[in-house]
Amino acid sequence: MLMLGLVAVGTLAANGAARLRFAALAFFGVALAAQLIAGPATSVWQATLSATAALVCAAILFIAARDGRYGEEPGWRLWVATIVAAGTTAAAFAFLRTTSGEDVHLTPLGEDPSGLIRQAAAFWLLSSGVAILLTARGAVRGSLGALLMLTGTQILVLLVPGPQLALALMLAWLQVVVALAGAFLILNERALRET
């Protein structure tokens, strides 16, 4: 539960950040909290891999900003994205939550055997990412939305039985490629703005 709160607060901080470097740091916080939500369900290698990918992505965005002031003022987009994300999360949870009927035990810290907290965090990140991406004016918020969506997707993929380490490796690469493509677009956007 505590990690779910951290994910929510971190997402709001990233969404509200007017400077790219703050958004990059907030994204790193969100990605770490999302890893911790999975808890003992993931191996040490998997967690290290995902945390490293998140760090690399945050570093790529941090460097792409080139100075501490560069970014995109969210303005009304912050509120629209937050309201849409909250509504969509609730709807997704109502429609897609498992109906296996098992007893659900929630604790502030500790395991999440029913997967309820992980699903809630994933839906929240996906909804926030979609809302940020759809309301973005340019690559700064577009890249942030893309990375948040991918973090939510990562949590859901962890719930699927299968070769988890290979999938974690693939998603880590995917995250880095999204960050690189985003950074490339941010640099181009800046070149356009400054001429």
Partner: protein, 450 residues
């Protein structure tokens, strides 16, 4: 089986390091692609291998599609190396080749989806071009947004469908399947999700556009068919007719809308882009019929359309470069103009090219499904025919005083070779259709598991 993927992946890193030395990076990229094609062609069908628990398998369709798509990338690299130096393209081509090969050989639906998103994101770097003078940044950003949006939603829906217990209410599966279908429609630029493709068609370099429409869009379609087969979701589609209706509606809308937009286009690139969208609409209908003939036709249309799009977009790029600010004309590059026109035969599925059986199968099965659907496909083909004829007339509106082949006629030569390959395929369709039929067999078995 992973060796050619690793070869292309490592090759992409090396090409990135040496990309500014075009005369070294060009031949290096060609050599790496040729080595990968030879490697894949020399492997026995059915070869499997494991990497960290992920299984790779070389199916007959994977071998055929890998050869077609990697050779298309090779044609693009040759044009970039010899005629249109763009140093970003070499690492992009190799990375896209590695991702396409992974899509074709992976067996896990989630891994296929991940490789597909990687493949579609790689060209973003080669889309942006002279950002102060055109809207290529905006086109690249829109493509990035569409791919990430469709990619993450589709991957999440796939992961959820794999993790939820099977005793879910039907509405849950309808929703998940609808999300997966719409996510693919976003990535395939199916109408009404085509706005990013329309902008790309106008603003990005012709070779990057050919990489997208000629290689990555067909790879996306094959990935869609593979994911449906491997995910175990097909029986749910049969039980819930709504998803099949959604696929049919998207296919019909794309087939008719793409053809309509193509007839109204005056630019060569748009004619090609909308013709591809119309043909993919026809292919979607083929898949949606859930029949053997429909699936064979759909995959055949997709592969041939990719080859035709590569041929036409390369020719359109050569014509634009040589005509300068004027309208593209055959007087500036007669061989490229000829390549564009004969590429149109592949787009309309004219016999005796290998493009014909795919269109024939899908139209036949569409008529047996419903008269309206079959008529829609015939109208779509007629629309593409009119668009291609208009484009050909526009290119040849001024007769050259004397026919002289342009200097460095790479696009023209590549186009002519592709046409000859399609002609040879048409004379021996068995070699082309048999691997696709093997996949259709797997699809039908997955549809009705014992």
């Amino acid at each position: 089986m992973t060796a050619p993927i690793v070869l292309l992946g490592v090759g992409a890193l090396v090409a990135f390091a040496i990309r500014k030395r075009v005369m070294i990076a060009g031949p290096f990229t060609v050599a790496a692609l040729l080595a990968a094609v030879v490697f894949v062609a020399s492997l026995d069908v059915g070869t499997t291998t494991d990497f960290l628990g992920l299984q790779f398998r070389l199916s007959p369709l994977a071998q055929l599609a890998a050869a077609v798509l990697l050779l298309s990338i090779l044609a693009l690299v040759l044009v970039v190396w010899i005629d249109e130096p763009a140093y970003n393209f070499f690492p992009t081509a190799l990375a896209a080749g590695a991702a396409v090969l992974a899509i074709l050989t992976l067996v896990s639906p989630i891994a296929i989806y991940g490789a597909l998103i990687l493949a579609l994101l790689v060209p973003v770097g080669s889309f942006t071009f002279q950002v102060h003078r055109n809207r290529s940044y905006e086109a690249a950003f829109r493509h990035f947004s569409f791919v990430v949006l469709g990619g993450c939603l589709g991957l999440s829906a796939l992961a959820l469908s794999g993790s939820l217990p099977r005793d879910q209410p039907p509405a849950t599966f309808v929703l998940l399947l609808a999300i997966i279908v719409v996510a693919f429609a976003l990535k395939l630029a199916a109408i009404p999700f085509h706005t990013h493709a329309a902008l790309l068609a106008m603003e990005v370099p012709a070779t990057a556009l050919a990489l997208y429409f000629g290689v990555l869009v067909p790879a996306t379609f094959i990935a869609f068919a593979e994911i449906l087969t491997l995910s175990g979701l097909l029986p749910a589609i049969i039980q819930i007719a709504k998803v099949q209706d959604l696929l049919l509606a998207l296919g019909a809308l794309s087939a008719l809308g793409g053809a309509f937009l193509a007839t109204g286009s005056t630019e060569l690139r748009r004619v090609v882009a909308y013709s591809v969208i119309a043909n993919l609409g026809q292919a979607l209908i083929g898949i949606a019929t859930l029949s053997g003939a429909g699936i064979v036709g759909a995959i055949a249309i997709t592969l041939v359309t990719g080859a035709g799009a590569t041929q036409q977009l390369l020719a359109a790029g050569a014509l634009e470069r040589r005509s300068g600010p004027d309208q593209p004309s055959a007087t500036a590059a007669p061989l490229a103009a000829l390549a564009f026109v004969i590429g149109g035969f592949a787009m309309i599925g004219a016999p005796p090219l290998v493009a014909f059986p795919g269109h024939f199968f899908v139209e036949l099965i569409a008529f047996s499904y419903s008269g309206a659907l079959g008529t829609a496909l015939v109208l779509s083909t007629l629309g593409i025919l009119i668009a291609q004829l208009r484009a050909a007339i526009a290119i040849f509106r001024v007769a050259p005083d004397h026919w002289r082949v342009e200097s460095r006629p790479v696009a023209g030569v590549v186009g002519t070779l592709l046409f000859l390959a399609l002609l040879l395929g048409g004379m021996q369709p068995d070699g082309f259709l048999r691997p696709i039929a093997a996949f259709a067999d797997e699809f039908i078995r997955a549809l009705r598991p014992l």
